[in-house]
């Protein structure tokens, strides 16, 4: 149907101003589509990175065994006395599991940790804190301590402690000062403040302290094993599948971050739905624009269509000419809109550089190919009605116009 293509092109180039206007209209629709894709995608990325970017994406925690209820053969109830409230469940064999988990393609980092509660004291001032023991060298594996550091170093040597800025302010601490850290087990250590961080999350900055894994072993009386394994992924959305895979691989109870994050997921879904609506409206605008322009064009060209039919053009040929026009308008407008969209998004910071106060536009989520493809499909669909109407033109009536 080369000849049909030639005629379609001729009709488009015959009235350049009208075609340019039509293509511009489509391009604006595509631009909105791309802008919305980048904004909604970037916003979701921003929200996720701000909420779950610094937490474990898959967590394996040691399960605390239920206290045994012992019943003797004669039916007397014997009570098993739990040795203290502070008995800590541990994960053993983490040296075996860690390399296996690290080998999973989606896994970015694994952090064996010992966690517990404690008190941080400086002179007479005491604050309740959450203590996390980290393996030296993996300090920034989950929470980017290095990135949030406002003073000192993020390296945890033995006898070092890293704490949040709010806590440091509360206790009037600075790098190099010595503090006393007492665990809930009653064991005390006297570490030196090695670094102060500020995440912007009040709770974390006020109550979290990080020590090395050996220090945590001393504090919580755990000569071996850890209390939890935190795993960070390259793709947040792969958490469910990766957790399932880890469970299958290790038999451990790996929990993805999405468990218990239903409200966040609902909010993100609602935001995505809003994005779909807005993009659909942009597409509908394109379809209506192309359909109305082509309807007008077919009406204006009725005498010519009549002549073509009289000269032996089949109805299918007429349909092809006008559908091809629609497709070309869609393609031109799609490419123009996608190019404009890309150029307009270039000045925005990349997804890894989102900062509070800036519009989180993600240029990589512009859906350029999808926008062009949907526009071409939409334009083709929009042109079918005018094309069919053109093909039904009665040559006698049309020529007589």
């Amino acid at each position: 149907m080369l000849y049909g293509l030639k005629i379609a092109l001729r009709y488009l180039t015959a009235n350049k101003a009208q075609t340019a206007l039509l293509v511009s209209g489509v391009a604006v629709g595509v631009f909105i589509f791309i802008f919305m894709s980048a904004l909604i995608g970037g916003l979701a990325e921003f929200i996720l990175s701000r909420t779950v970017g610094d937490i474990s994406h898959v967590t394996i925690e040691a399960e605390t065994p239920d206290p045994a209820v012992l019943v003797d053969a004669k039916g007397h109830l014997l009570v098993a006395v739990e040795r203290g409230r502070l008995r800590t469940a541990t994960l053993r064999d983490t040296e075996t599991w860690t390399p296996l988990i690290e080998a999973i393609p989606d896994v970015r980092a694994v952090s064996p940790q010992i966690t517990g509660a404690g008190f941080l004291a400086r002179a007479a001032q005491v604050a309740q804190v959450s203590v996390t023991g980290l393996e030296p060298g993996r300090e920034s594996a989950i929470l980017d301590l290095e990135g949030y550091l406002v003073a000192g170093s993020a390296r945890l040597g033995s006898g070092g402690i890293i704490l949040g800025k709010n806590l440091a302010d509360e206790l009037d601490l600075s790098v190099g000062q010595v503090v006393r850290l007492q665990s809930s087990n009653g064991v005390s250590v006297v570490p030196t403040v090695g670094g102060i961080f500020q995440t912007g999350t009040g709770m974390l900055d006020r109550t979290s302290v990080y020590v090395s894994l050996p220090t945590a072993r001393t504090l919580f009386g755990l000569p071996q094993g850890v209390t939890r394994l935190e795993i960070k992924l390259y793709d947040l959305n792969a958490a469910d599948a990766t957790a399932l895979r880890i469970r299958g691989l290790t038999g451990l109870d790996a929990v993805p971050w999405t468990d218990g994050a239903e409200q966040l997921m609902e909010a993100l879904n609602a935001q995505a739905q809003t994005g779909y609506f807005l993009k659909s409206f942009a597409l509908i605008t394109i379809v209506i624009g192309v359909a109305s322009a082509l309807l007008l064009s077919t009406y204006r060209r009725r005498p010519e269509i009549g002549i073509m039919r009289a000269m032996g053009a089949r109805r299918g040929f007429v349909v092809f000419v006008f559908v091809t026009q629609g497709a070309l308008v869609g393609l031109l407008g799609g490419v123009a809109g996608a190019t404009l969209g890309y150029l307009a998004l270039l000045p925005f910071p990349g997804r890894d550089e989102f900062r509070p106060g800036t519009l989180p536009m993600d240029i990589t989520q512009g859906s350029y190919g999808l926008a062009i493809m949907l526009t071409v499909i939409g334009a083709i669909l929009a042109s079918i009605l005018p094309a069919r109407s053109a093909a039904r033109v009665d040559p006698v009536t049309a020529i007589g116009q």
Binding site: Y3, Y11, M308, A310, M311, G312, R314, R315, P395, V396
Partner: protein, 225 residues
């Protein structure tokens, strides 16, 4: 000469009931191959309707129409389109050229639309026809840049492009000055003589009719002479 087309008891009625208009009332007509015939009659006599039906652009209400042995009343739209493209050429009063195309592109349209592309053979024939019409220096001109007479000659060339057996011309000179009209009629006579193409020309102009070897008078939807 062999019979090219045969029309029997052709009836064409527009509308229904009290508003029905009977344009053709049982018209019968035979045309032989190579005829140059004029269709004469006052306005409203049914000339244009007859040409439209003979051109397969409209179906009769009843009656028989056979051309080249084919029953054109029973044929469907696709078959009629194909038949029209191969065997019938049209020359309209107002040339009806495609305005966004050149003279040559207009002439080769009937072949290109059938073959799906503009072949070099079609271009060659189109050019030859335009030369024959005296338009060798207007081949690549946009039709909007041509005079009325030139446009009508392009229309004649287009009608002849697929070497049709029948050319139907509805007032082909009605919109032309005397010199252009004479030029167009001379071309039609020449092609009729050289290529044995049958022409049926609807006209009010007795001088044009006199150029034809046969005159067919139509009145009130019937052939009267």
């Amino acid at each position: 000469m062999s019979t090219l087309l045969d029309v029997r008891d052709l009836v064409k009625t527009f509308g229904e009931g009290e508003t029905a208009t009977h344009v053709l009332r049982g018209l019968s007509l035979t045309l032989d191959t190579g005829e140059l015939a004029a269709l004469l009659g006052p306005s409203g006599s049914g000339k244009s309707t007859l040409l439209t039906i003979l051109g397969t652009l409209m179906k009769p209400t009843s009656g028989r129409y056979r051309m080249l042995g084919q029953d054109l009343v029973a044929a469907d739209d696709a078959a009629l389109t194909e038949f029209r493209n191969r065997h019938i050429g049209f020359v309209f009063q107002f040339h009806n050229l495609l305005p966004d195309f050149t003279a040559l592109e207009n002439v080769i349209f009937p072949t290109a639309v059938r073959e799906g592309r503009e072949t070099s053979a079609a271009r060659r024939r189109g050019r030859e026809l335009l030369v024959r019409m005296g338009l060798e220096d207007r081949v690549d001109f946009a039709t909007t840049k041509l005079s009325g007479g030139q446009k009508q000659r392009v229309a004649v060339a287009r009608a002849l492009m697929n070497t049709p057996q029948l050319v139907l011309a509805d007032e082909p000179t009605g919109n032309l000055d005397r010199a252009s009209a004479r030029q167009v009629m001379e071309l039609i006579s020449e092609i009729n003589r050289d290529e044995v193409t049958t022409f049926l020309i609807s006209t009010h102009d007795e001088k044009i009719a006199a150029c034809c070897r046969r005159q067919i008078a139509v009145a009130d939807g019937l052939v009267t002479g």
